[in-house]
Amino acid sequence: MNWRWIFLMAWRDSRKNRSRLFLFISSIILGIASLVSMNSFNRNLKKDIDLQAAELIGADLALETNRKPTAATLAFIDSLNKLSLNFAKEERFMSMLRFPKADASRFVQVRALEGSFPFYGAVETKPTGAFGKFNQEQGIYIENPLLLQYSLQLGDTLQLGTKNFPLLGGITAQPGQSAIAGAMAPSLFIPLAQLQGAGLQQTGSRIEYHYYFKLPADFQVDKKIKSWKDKLSTLQLRASTIQTTKENTGRSFADMANFMELVGFVALLLGCIGVSSAVQIYVREKLMSVAILRCLGTSAKQAFFIFVIQFAAIGLLGGIVGAALGTVIQFAIPYVMQDVLPVALTTQIVWPAIFQGILLGLVIAVLFALLPLLSVRHISPLNSLRLQEEPEGLLKDKLKIWVYLLIILFIVLFARTQMDTWLQTLLFSLGIGFTFLLLYGVARGFTWLIRKYFPSNWSYLWRQGLSNLWRPNNQTVILIVSIGLGTTLIATLYFVQDMLLNRVAISAQQNEANMLMFDIQPSQREGISQLAQKSGYPIVESVPIVTMFMEAVNGTSLQDVLKDTTSEISGRAFRGEIRATYRDSLSASEKVSAGKWVGQVSPTDTASVSLDENYAEGIGVKVGDVLTMNVQGLRLPAKVSSLRKVDWNRFQSNFRMVFAKGSIDQAPQFYLMMTKVTGEEQAMRFQQEVVNSYPNVSIIDMNAVLSILNTILEKIGFIIKFIGGFSILTGIVVLISSVRISKYQRIKENVLLRTLGASSKQIYLITISEYMFLGLLAALCGLFIALVASSMLAIFVFESAFVPPLGFVLFILTAVPAMTVFIGLINSLTVLNKSPLAVLRNN
């Protein structure tokens, strides 16, 4: 084959079509851009996590337990301390912080430190270097946004528990914590010694104990952790090292970035289908040129390659433009993502991502253009004498089957690079196939329904616009699929967000309580009750809580479980502190699902306990089993009398373990109380009153939770909106390209209509109605799938009722058709304004 000539012909043939060719390929540019931006972001993040892993954890080794350390635990920590170059400990818990100046209070996470933690990285503050005074002076540090929120200045007095502290600085960054993590409970740093006497470390205070070690360079900490596995488990300690932090942080964010890359890939595939159908029309237009070339002696292969080269070149160009765009977008990502990231994100040009994007553009353009291009091989030179279109079935050209297989293989291989296992890859690939088929099916179904129930009594203009949807060479289905997919993504996101917020809001409205108070000591119970009742607020719940942990199940201890890997009992049963209550009856949100509810036992009987059914299943406990509980030093055998199905969605106290009255009534306990306060101002005032009188009591206001939840969902939702936006943009580009491709056909039709007497206004109306129906179909299609998906999520994941927000549904049904009409009309202007005479002359 004369390749030089083929390239030359490809160049010549493309000369008059370059803008059109580029338009075809522009639908993949956005897909490439999203992939390159996500890939670059992923790689940069991985690099940043690797570089900043030490600062993420702040030490070589961190041990953590949420149970008050036993003597054995302390001895182990002490032995490690002796090997260390530096050591620090921290007690971490939730509390209320009061701002006397603003007469306000805020739920915070207290980090009480002893030692010079962090060993790597720093707690950054405003003013710079203020953390240097930590432990040197009396005072605390809080997250900087709180200073702005409560108009605080350095030196202002803040009340934590029963003690007052001066404010020493605002924290702008701390090891391993993203900005968003502080949305619910911002951090407060205080020297551990200064916390003494604040009355916060009392019975029931849920304190996490952290121990940090700086180890010698030759200390192989990860190896040691492996050999200490059982010991750490027995001592209820969780260990993190720089390496594990690197892996865990990297993994979770890589999963997110991979997910986004895959959604970007779906947008790219949509664009590719757009390319494929555009090329099909292009090939039809090129039929005569190919026939002439064949007459002049060009072989079928030569003719085929003349076009393949054009699409490869244009795919390469699309890849380059997409990669450049992706790189630019990547530089914008830190501005929107920094809040959810635990590391400072640095952006750099990532060449492997760029090369991957360019290669992808090239390969995918050729693969998807190949399907219609293969027909070029069958164009007979006879077409130059008279047109003879040869309809071709899928099975007629065996090469087409191979191309389909290649495309599937390519999708699977690409997905594999983003996934951990072949099973995931297979599920994703099948998922893509299913989603496309579903969208395709719904799109086809809607168009079929319209054709079947065609409104023949409508005026001609509307009927013409509607029937344009199935004109020859139409791109209706691909447009519905691409715009529909974007709509599905964005609508589902909105529905889920709405569902989550509604769930919290409805539960706050339906339930009698909206204010939760916890860490209440028995002596404070009466006082708080009176405080509420004085203001006219009912005490909806007042529940005793007893902390304990499990020592054995049917005599099997954690040590036994660790030795016997076949044991049905999970090691998780013994992990962590359990907060249990006791009462004589079931609450409204509970139902017994197995065994028999026992409400009361006499002090001489064996204690009786009811477990949440999911919890029981998780730890491998059944009705009749005997649990040995350690209730603050005392061993208590308790028989599992029943399992309960608990509705955790309700805003009320629910427990994994509920003891029968008489079982643990005498154990040291604290209280959780709930009340209902109407009005935002009243809620704030009541909160103040409680904190003023009982500084150790923490209060959660449901209204505040709602607004924080909204903020978090907005931030996380942005990423999905960003990717969904790519899909919609791809749809728009496919729409523009399809309008431009069918330009000549449309000019002819419009001229014919004008010749027959149609006015410009009528032609405009036909065009508007066509795009309006197209947009409406796409919106209906997207909404339909979003509604089905959201309902499924509501039933199977969130276990709550889903009521579609009517306003948003109407907005989508208006906005998507409006956008489609606007884009369609703008791109049709040249067609609509063409003079009939000029066109007829040309013909």
């Binding site: 079509n17 007459c295 004498l385």
Partner: protein
């Protein structure tokens, strides 16, 4: 040695339509000597264009034998037929059939480039000058009038010095004056290069200018 450039023996052509066989050409037999001029005439739908397609190796007969320059065309694959067309056959079409994305010069160069000729550009320029379009070499077909396009088409047809030239209604889309010019040019070029010329037309005046006329009707030679 035979001087026959084209020999057709018992050529049949039929198409399948919805399971039925539709005959287009029935038992066609004729021979054409090298350098001769011949017209195939007949009404629309008589099978003229089908016959031209078969003679030029654009299609395969259902039955019978077609020998072009001594080569049996029946049974040859498409690539081999393409090579024969490139080396031995020239075409002039009713609709000119220039490649719209190529300039006049490039359109003329294509057959020579395909053949691998070295000085194709100079030859193409000379041919364009010969048809009076030396100054329009860089123009695209859409920038040329119908008559000019057909002249480019003539230049292209003679580019590879074909043994045989097939012209399908070469003046069918042109006005009388331009038709006259094109006809004269076609016969002149034919004489100069000694090419065999087969014209398919229903214009009896044009047919009369050839040495021999084969009338065809209902797929059969009359």
């Amino acid at each position: 040695m035979s001087t026959m450039i084209l020999q057709l023996q018992h050529v049949f052509k039929h198409y399948q339509l919805e399971g039925k066989q539709i005959p287009v050409l029935k038992d066609i037999n004729f021979e054409v000597e090298a350098g001769a001029t011949l017209a195939i005439v007949g009404p629309s739908g008589s099978g003229k264009s089908t016959l031209l397609g078969l003679c030029a190796g654009l299609d395969q007969p259902s039955e019978g034998s077609i020998r072009l320059h001594g080569i049996e065309l029946a049974g040859l694959n498409e690539d081999k037929l393409a090579q024969i067309r490139n080396e031995h056959v020239g075409f002039v079409f009713q609709n000119f059939q220039l490649l719209p994305t190529l300039t006049a010069l490039e359109n003329v160069m294509v057959p020579m480039e395909l053949k691998g000729q070295k000085d194709h550009k100079a030859k193409a320029i000379a041919l364009l000058e010969r048809v009076g379009l030396g100054g329009r070499a860089d123009h695209y077909p859409s920038q040329l009038s119908g008559g000019e396009q057909q002249r480019v088409s003539l230049a292209r047809a003679f580019a590879n010095k074909p043994k045989i030239l097939f012209a399908d209604e070469p003046t069918g889309n042109l006005d009388a004056e331009t038709s006259q010019i094109i006809e004269e040019m076609l016969f002149e070029l034919n004489r100069e290069s000694g090419t065999t010329l087969i014209i398919v037309t229903h214009d009896l005046e044009l047919a009369a200018k050839t040495q021999r006329v084969i009338p065809i009707k209902g797929g059969q030679i009359q």
